[in-house]
Symmetry: C2
Subunit: 409 residues, 2 copies
């Protein structure tokens, strides 16, 4: 085989992935540099790996940003989807006003990378974490923390009061409303009572309401989904009105999702949306149904996992991606991106492997073939990888570090 310049550079770049005594971060640094120099291509990436089609990603982000701008809503996309500072920066560039973070440690990573406008959507519970929250706020005073319990509000207030700073620290709190069956305080009077407590304390301030209904976002069928979201988000907006009638300022109602972005953004009183999956998309959202048909395709499938056929026998191909390469929390399986393989059944073959049943397939595959899959559920899949390989066509334009991977604390 003739070694072309492209193949030579590719091999040199690919060898950079080898992990030696210098360790894996060194190996990643080398590979990242090769990508930045334009010397890394799709087929050089060791599998299994996370790929991002930059054209599709940018299209998704631009579409969401434009719609929310046109409707006068804020855009605070959820960082739990990407856990990646470079993605957060790309979203900011497109008009996002900040980033949600599911957990405190995720927010700390974003803050360490210069991302501001953070809203931590899970309550920060326990003395050590409350102390960390205060330090994060000291560094980035616009950070907001979700609360759903009076004792937690008092703990945060006390810790902020005990923290020495000039001017004195005042934490921004968002009341988390129980509208989706997960976390939060009941909307209406219970939320008002918590808001009054916040207003009565010197070291905290009410930033608004956190109102996420995970159930609505995944309701199958456009009409059913819209009905549910309008009903649950109405309870959030009513709570906002109740607080305002009671003399409390409530400037923010943050909620919504990829599944409900075009519904919630029409509701008076919802000030901003916090969608996540739209930027990458997954099979889970494809199946909730769109406005015009059974497949939701408002956004493009930008994220895939690429695998290699590592064992082959008649009718069966084994790829090198299993439970550790894909999310497994949904009942459906990864789906090959290539049309000729899209209907080939995938089954799990343990932690490290997947099995393709090729008996009914239009085309066979060969040992060493690289097969890309659209993933069942993007958030927990991204959380399995250190890097997102960003492709422009077949060229790796960048390797973005999933810096908050594993930061569920």
């Amino acid at each position: 085989m003739k070694t072309t310049r492209r193949a030579f550079l590719g091999t040199a770049a690919a060898s950079a992935f080898m992990i030696s005594a210098e360790g894996r971060s060194r190996a990643l640094t080398w590979a990242r540099r090769a990508a930045e120099r334009g010397r890394l291509f799709r087929d050089d990436i060791p599998t299994p790996a996370l790929l991002l089609d930059l054209d599709a990603f940018e299209w998704n982000v631009a579409k969401m940003a434009a719609l929310l701008k046109a409707r006068g809503r804020g855009f605070r996309p959820h960082g739990k989807t990407h856990k990646c500072p470079e993605v957060a920066k790309a979203l900011s560039k497109a008009g996002a006003s900040g980033s949600c973070a599911a957990k405190l440690s995720e927010a700390e990573v974003f803050a360490a990378h210069g991302i501001d406008g953070l809203l931590v959507t899970t309550a920060v519970i326990g003395k050590a974490k409350v102390d960390r929250a205060v330090r994060l706020a000291a560094k980035q005073p616009d950070t907001m923390f979700s609360v759903d319990h009076a004792q937690n509000v008092r703990d945060l207030n006390d810790a902020a009061g005990a923290f020495k700073s000039r001017p004195p620290l005042r934490l921004n709190l968002a009341i988390d409303l129980l509208i989706g069956g997960r976390t939060g305080i009941e909307p209406g009077e219970p939320a008002l009572e918590l808001a009054r407590l916040i207003a009565s304390l010197p070291h905290v301030r009410l930033a608004g309401l956190q109102a996420y209904d995970g159930g609505a976002s995944h309701t199958i069928g456009f009409a059913e989904r819209k009905a549910r979201s309008l009903e649950t988000m109405a309870r959030a907006v009513e709570t906002r009105r109740l607080l305002e009638r009671s003399g409390l300022e409530c400037q923010m109602v943050s909620g919504g999702s990829t599944g409900t972005y075009n519904m919630d953004s029409e509701i008076d009183g919802v000030t901003e949306l916090q969608p996540g999956s739209f930027m990458f998309m997954d099979l889970d959202y494809n199946r909730i149904g769109g406005q015009d048909g059974p497949v939701y395709q408002d956004f493009r499938n930008a994220l895939t996992v690429v695998t290699t056929v590592v064992s082959k026998r008649p009718g069966v191909a084994i790829v090198d991606g299993g439970y550790k390469a894909f999310s497994t929390d949904r009942p459906f399986r990864p789906q090959a991106k290539e049309a000729a393989l899209a209907n080939v059944p995938f089954s799990w073959a343990g932690d490290e492997h997947g099995r393709l049943d090729l008996t009914g397939s239009q085309r066979d595959v060969t040992l060493g073939d690289r097969i890309e899959f659209i993933i069942p559920h993007c958030d927990p899949s991204v959380n399995l990888y250190d890097s997102i390989h960003c492709l422009r066509g077949d060229r790796v334009e960048a390797m973005w570090r999933v810096a908050a991977r594993g930061m569920s604390q």
Copy 2:
């Protein structure tokens, strides 16, 4: 509240977990040092987190090592379970002769940490990985690579031949047998043919047979499991005899698992076992049935995930562990370790949360309570975390880095 010395040290240590501009590895280094100085305790660990009860772990390892020694079998535990050099070192100390690695990159990490006797159980496919395999072998000549395809054998031979070294390199190959429905070549004549190819080539050598039947290890019922494993492992042993009758040396048959360790270790011709889960244990193995009853409890549940109750309402507690904190590839759910909560139903509440239904519970829980769970499946759960927090009673004796986490390539 009076601040005791213990509480003061604990708080100081816990604050080390905060991720600041210096980054997460720096935060982990601080926390690790606090642990080494005996200043970190169970309740200081930010949740969700992976805990290892060292007494139970050491008991599990000693039991397995003693049984295999008594039966004259080698012990090459599978590194895909722990992905942690410190665990591999503890196993070596207990008598392990090396470590299996599911993938090349996992083996590279182990090699970088000085672990030898590596057996890579997935075929190394593609030019870049074949080149990496050769470099790994140059560094650690006792490394073995699994093969199930003639072309891959030739590729490895050619790459080893092209590699300049004194003495010339010769790769150790283990023929992967298809006895479990996953990867491998058919036992018997097809395997013999591949063995002859290996014997005919100058830069590879036959190390033995890789014979893992994942189906056997998870067969429910002791008698059923034993019947299956005896049947499938017999095919591996027969293949060994066939090779030997054909004049080929075949010194190793490596197989077996946590589910079949006391069966396979009785089979003449099986030279070594490669169990993994026994060291940690999980609900998946608990349910396969033991020799004396419906629960398999040959080994202790040493590994747990600790969470915190971050939201509480009547009858419901939400903990801070969801799809990103636990494996989700099994149909059953995490189970609280505390007896009074063991029967409380756990349901998933998304990526970041779990829901406990307390309506039928003997005891209620409070916001901030820390709840430990035995996990459904240990390998993919460990793969979610950067560190294993090793406990001796309530003291964190060490934080072991899951250095090969995410190394599925």
